[in-house]
């Protein structure tokens, strides 16, 4: 008994002693470490200031070595270029895989592994790509025309019909055949003249046939390669993927454009845009997209540079025009559609919701497009009186409850957008208030993004939905406005059907004459400004921020995510 007690007692004493010692030692150690860390950071800043003194990328000589950490708020899904359909994945894929073509920040196509952008044949059906000399995969094997053919076959050849590529619909429709007369030549024959072919389908990262060629479509869906490509042809090689946190890439010395200056490029996933901005400030991140709401927060940070540019993205709302629905009976009246748009103070939305980072939209083509018409037929500057007179004129009279009605039908509807997107949530509130002011009752409701997508492409019981859309650099907008895409699964969820628009969009797709296309798209924009089936509220802008130690980036409208032809020339001033 007494032995036990003694042991217990001394045990407790030892424990107490240990606690004391441990906390003291640990405290000293930790503060010491932290202090050293801060000293290091402070030193880094001084050094940066010294470097930045002369200013400008041009005056400095690029240094080899070092790394950048880029932030993103969406998790990466796959690293296979023919499976990916989201920007977060495309961004990482773009650093590892080059396509036949790439694009400059203004959207102009340039050669990547192809020497140049091919001229279509005189009938507009055939594109002949010449590959660059001495192209090598990162394992030393030659990149040949067979690799290109293999990559595209994954999405058009019936042999690979089990491969879950989201590109199959388009590619199997437009590609007639791909021939490889010699290892450096790829001849693509299309089934019909399709103007956006190169812009839409010429940029997919080419995959190594010698690694994947022995797998069938089904096996390719779950190939190890998709989460850890062993062989690449882009500026950076795959190193590791810590799921849910980051992908680490390293320099590919055999890159055709020359070995990158950086040793590593790390893409890190963050919980939200606030965390991302904070980490740009603390220096944990070197590069990252900046949310408009966080811009001012970041602007005061000396160590960070920002750039802002128009992007081919717009935020729009759509009326349900299906005449069989209740909403269709309200919105079938053009005066209602126009009046609602006149009643929206969109300048205020841009200023209050997007903190001025955006542009009121006059057209359905984004201003980044070469077919953009700044002043189409009708301009909808905020005009409440005009909105009311339009509704009065069309017979929508205010009832006792202040809500307009016509023939027993009240001008009353629901609006949906995806929960969690703060800007869209705020926009619905502004819309509700603005429309209440003219005697229209619109009730906002928030649903999850998957449900919103289902509503748009399939269920279609909505009255009005609000969402954003991201375009390529081709002005074709058939996915949203052509009647053939009103079928289930298509994005024309508004059920907009206009013969004239269909015919213009078809003609513009079927000619390679740019001047002719521009003229057609101008006509299209005029009609859309008159019809306003799904008004574009604003054109969004892209903002990127980066630590001043990072040099050589050139973000722009079309060099945001997947396409960055300058990635291998990015370098860091401190070489770390």
């Amino acid at each position: 008994m007494s032995r036990d007690e003694d042991a217990g007692d001394s045990g407790f004493e030892r424990f107490e002693h240990f606690l004391e010692q441990w906390s003291r030692r640990d405290f000293l150690k930790r503060t010491g470490g932290a202090a050293a860390y801060v000293a290091f950071l402070a030193g880094g800043v001084e050094f940066l200031e010294a470097c930045a003194g002369g200013g400008g990328t041009q005056s400095a000589t690029p240094k080899k070595g070092g790394h950048v950490v880029e932030g993103n708020i969406t998790d990466i899904r796959t690293l296979n270029s023919m499976l990916s359909s989201d920007t977060a994945s495309n961004q990482v894929i773009g650093l590892m895989f080059d396509g036949l073509l790439n694009q400059k920040k203004n959207g102009d196509l340039i050669g990547a592994i192809a020497q140049d952008v091919p001229k279509p044949s005189s009938d507009g059906l055939t594109y002949t790509f010449k590959l660059r000399d001495n192209l090598k995969w990162s394992d030393g094997q030659a990149i040949t025309a067979d690799d290109v053919k293999f990559t595209y076959a994954l999405a058009y050849d019936p042999q690979y019909k089990d491969f879950a590529s989201p590109r199959r619909g388009d590619l199997s429709k437009y590609i007639a055949s791909i021939d490889t007369p010699d290892p450096k030549t790829v001849v693509v024959k299309t089934t019909q003249v399709y103007a956006p072919f190169l812009a839409s389908h010429g940029l997919y990262g080419i995959l190594p046939k010698h690694v994947l060629g022995n797998l069938d479509g089904k096996a390719l869906n779950s190939a190890e390669f998709n989460s850890g490509p062993t062989v690449v042809n882009g500026p950076f090689k795959f190193k590791s993927w810590d799921k849910g946190q980051q992908v680490t890439l390293e320099r590919n010395d055999s890159y055709w454009g020359g070995a990158p200056y950086l040793d590593q490029w790390i893409v890190k996933v963050l919980p939200d845009s606030v965390a991302l901005t904070n980490q740009l400030k603390t220096g944990e991140l070197d590069i990252g997209p900046v949310d408009p709401g966080q811009f001012d927060n970041l602007k005061t940070t000396e160590s960070v540079t920002t750039t802002e540019f128009p992007v081919p993205t717009f935020t729009f709302y759509a009326y349900n025009l299906n005449p069989d629905t209740k909403a269709g009976k309200l919105f079938g009246d053009k005066a209602v559609r126009q009046a609602l748009l006149f009643a929206l103070n969109r300048k205020q939305i841009v200023d209050a919701v997007f903190f001025g980072h955006g542009k009121v939209a006059n057209s359905v083509e984004p201003p980044t497009s070469w077919a953009y018409k700044d002043k189409p037929k009708i301009l909808y500057t905020f005009d409440k009186a005009k909105a009311e007179s339009l509704l009065d004129g069309a017979g929508w009279a205010k009832g006792a409850d202040g809500i307009r009605a016509k023939g027993g039908l009240k001008l009353k509807f629901d609006m949906i957008t995806n929960a969690g997107n703060k800007q869209r949530e705020s926009m619905l509130q502004v819309m509700q208030q603005s429309w209440k002011d003219i005697g229209v009752e619109a009730t906002p409701s928030l649903i999850q993004f998957p449900q919103l997508v289902s509503q748009i492409v399939n269920i279609r019981t909505f009255d009005v939905f609000l969402v954003g859309f991201n375009w390529s650099n081709d002005p074709d907008e058939a996915p949203l406005y052509h009647s053939r895409n009103a079928v289930p699964g298509g994005f024309n969820g508004a059920d907009f059907k206009n013969d004239q628009v269909d015919s213009i969009l078809d003609q513009a797709l079927g000619t390679l004459d740019k001047a002719k296309r521009k003229q057609l798209y101008e006509q299209f924009q005029d009609i859309m400004s008159e019809e306003v089936p799904s008004p574009v509220v604003l054109f969004n802008t892209g903002i990127y921020g980066w630590n001043k130690r990072v040099q050589g980036t050139d973000f722009g409208s079309f060099n945001q995510f997947g396409n960055r032809p300058w990635a291998h020339t990015v370098w860091v001033t401190d070489g770390k």
């Binding site: 796959t78 359909s85 619909g169 603390t282 492409v457």
Partner: protein, 323 residues
């Protein structure tokens, strides 16, 4: 007797597992509409693509057929592949499990280490200012939402400290992006999320120890110990605390499933690459197979934790018999 008890509990558990997974699937099926997991609004997608991808992923099958197939495969050890990235669901779970264990085990250890002394202090100095102070803090532990506390800690210990040029703590991830992953680096990343998570445990357990301690200290054997002239310290630590701790072990046993699922909110706020965050993100994207896999796994752990707690009860308290 015990074997029979365990067998009966096991059979009952099977029904729970079936029920939970079936309800999970039903919830996803009824709310997903025609959404194809992982597909965004992408102008290059055609109606044919959406229809084809749905068929390939088996989304057009009736839910009961899908469920039966899934169950059959699970019985044969195959949890399937994620609908979004094609990776094995088990790979996803086991990749994230170590991170989750690191966070929650740390939080539980801190919780015990802090809760025990606090509970003892509260019991020994009942009614004192310290005791009242501890009561306020533990009520706060229940009342303050974890996400809010997480954001506040980030604001103070990452953002504000950094702005003033003071030592600060990283606010997201389990290690530094560049050359991270050594012990000090991981500990630095662990501090904030573990603090939030352990705050909750501390609040619960310190109250528990306090009342348990008070109860034990009023027992006859304590009075006997004091009567035979034992020092107060021995009375408290040796006779009091040891006995007061026994019920806590059961309580911690009940927290075992929390080792895996407990940190969901904390994981999301701190970008901690664990199972909770995985389940949360994949549920929002309707990755059926992954969500079902995690649900199955978590349900098993809850059941195992409960069973373990029940059995521990029997071991620690001889008055309890199973039959």
């Amino acid at each position: 007797m015990l074997a029979k008890y365990v067998a009966r509990r096991f059979l009952a558990s099977l029904i729970v597992v079936l029920g939970v997974t079936a309800i999970t699937l039903a919830l996803m099926k009824t709310t997903s509409g025609s959404y194809v997991p992982g597909i965004d609004l992408n102008p290059a997608l055609r109606p044919e693509d959406i229809a084809r991808l749905r068929t390939q992923l088996g989304l057009d099958e009736p839910p009961q057929v899908w469920y039966a197939t899934w169950l059959w495969n699970v019985i044969h050890g195959d949890f399937g592949r994620s609908m979004i990235d094609g990776s094995r669901v088990t790979d996803h779970i086991f990749e994230r499990l170590p991170n989750t264990l690191e966070l929650t085990a740390t939080a539980i250890v801190i919780g015990v280490l802090v809760a025990v002394p606090l509970g003892v202090i509260g019991a020994l100095r009942r009614g004192s200012k310290a005791d009242h102070g501890l009561t306020v803090v533990s009520v706060a532990g229940f009342a303050v939402p974890q996400f809010w506390m997480g954001l506040m800690l980030i604001l103070i210990f990452s953002v504000t400290l950094e702005q003033h040029g003071l030592p600060w703590l990283p606010s997201s991830g389990a290690f530094s992006a560049f050359q991270g992953g050594d012990l000090l680096d991981r500990v630095q990343h662990l501090i904030l999320p573990a603090t939030v998570l352990s705050f909750f445990y501390t609040s619960t357990w310190s109250r528990f120890i306090r009342s348990s301690m008070l109860e034990v200290l009023s027992q006859d054997y304590i009075r006997t110990a004091r009567a035979k002239g034992m020092s107060e310290r021995r009375v408290v630590y040796l006779h009091g605390l040891r006995n007061a701790l026994i019920p806590l072990i059961t309580l911690i046993g009940l927290e075992l499933p929390g080792l895996v699922s407990g940190g969901l909110v904390v994981e999301v706020v701190f970008g901690w690459p664990g199972i909770g965050k995985l389940a949360f993100e994949r549920a929002l994207q309707y990755d059926y197979t992954t969500v079902m896999g995690v649900t199955f796994f978590a349900t098993l752990l809850v059941i195992a934790g409960n069973l373990l707690a029940d059995l521990l009860y029997g071991v620690l308290d001889p008055r309890i018999r199973y039959g």
